[in-house]
């Protein structure tokens, strides 16, 4: 469960920075934005590490999110003038980033990742090895790409949901929604039985990076399709 929450956070990192650079006009690619982001993520943890004389990798969330932010930034900032030139640009970029993450984490059990980070073992290592850093980032090495994909399909999805809700009769709308949620329920049931209720922790760690997008996207789907019936009573 905690793995899933962390995966959801990493999804939000990819989605948020993608949305900022893709949907917001005149988004800043300069040094100030990177510096602000790195300061926000790392100021307190560096302070704590200095005061308590701990290892940086004990608070691995900061390293994970810094790395994911830098990867998203590199993906968006490279050839950034082409970002809004055509529909094919973002899929190409996302494919390249997927290949990059495959090379870093999956190729030969992460030998590329460990080679790249081996000069910085004094900073991101724990007990003289990069295993902790590799393990923690490997768990979420694909979900930020799903966040970017979701950011790319955000406006069409919104249009689709409005088209679904803007029906003449309420019954038709509710029937469409129930049909879609039945499909979602089937997918969720498959995910639960095949991947989630695995008693062995190590087996779940192996399948987590490739399957964690299913519950996260299902949660977003249900949260938005039934927002009408839930949030009118419980929310501001």
């Amino acid at each position: 469960m905690i793995r899933l929450f962390i995966a959801a956070y990493v999804w939000m990192t990819g989605y948020g920075h993608f949305s900022y650079y893709y949907h917001v006009p005149n988004s800043q690619y300069g040094f100030v934005r990177i510096a602000k982001m790195l300061f926000r993520l790392n100021f307190l943890v560096v302070f704590i590490v200095m005061v308590m004389r701990n290892d940086y990798m004990l608070y691995y969330i900061c390293a994970l999110h810094t790395l994911i932010f830098m990867l998203t930034y590199l993906g968006m900032a490279a050839f950034s003038s082409f970002n809004n030139k055509g529909w094919w640009v973002m899929p190409v970029k996302i494919a390249v980033l997927s290949l990059l993450s495959y090379l870093l984490w999956d190729y030969e059990n992460g030998v590329v990742f460990k080679t790249v980070w081996s000069p910085f073992i004094w900073f991101v290592g724990l007990d003289g090895s990069l295993h902790e850093f590799y393990f923690r980032t490997n768990l979420d090495h694909l979900i930020w790409i799903w966040g970017m994909i979701f950011g790319y399909f955000y406006l069409p999805m919104e249009r689709f949901l409005l088209h679904l809700e803007n029906r003449r009769s309420l019954i038709e709308c509710v029937l469409w929604k129930l049909a879609l949620s039945g499909v979602g329920l089937a997918i969720g049931y498959y995910w639960c039985t095949e991947y989630f209720f695995i008693t062995d922790k190590f087996e779940y760690n192996a399948v987590h990076p490739y399957t964690s997008f299913i519950p996260i996207l299902l949660f977003i789907f249900y949260r938005n399709i039934f927002a009408r019936y839930v949030f009118t009573f419980f929310c501001v």
Binding site: Y9, I48, Y59, I61, F231, C235
Partner: protein, 147 residues
Amino acid sequence: MYSLSFAFSFFSFLIFSFFFFFFFFFIFPFVFFFSFLFLSFPLFFCVTQPPFFSFLRWRLKYLSVLAWMGRSTLETYLLQFHLFLSSSSKTQVVYVPGYPYVNFLVGTTIFLYLSHKTLHLTNTLSDALISYSVHNPFLSPPPLKFD
């Protein structure tokens, strides 16, 4: 003559006081209550349209408490080991010995308050140190004053 006029005024006082009473306690509240109808009678049916298009707004709703908590997630994650828990995350810091629930409330309150304090501190420092401002002391010093 005088007595007659007095009688007239007395009876008229009785009658008009009745109207006065009637006006202030039956008519005036009624008018006051429905004054919005008389003051803006044509607007009344325009403003209170039935919310046909409010479905555009439903998806934007969220729980403000969770949003407040989520703003300082990084700080709560970092500080939970040092302010909320102790002895390497095995036990909780004891503020009120003997009352675990009261201790939990007090500890959580202090922890969340200090997390938000550190969040605001980080944001303030970030704004002070990193900005496009001309008067940023790290990029360019403020203009010198000779007096």
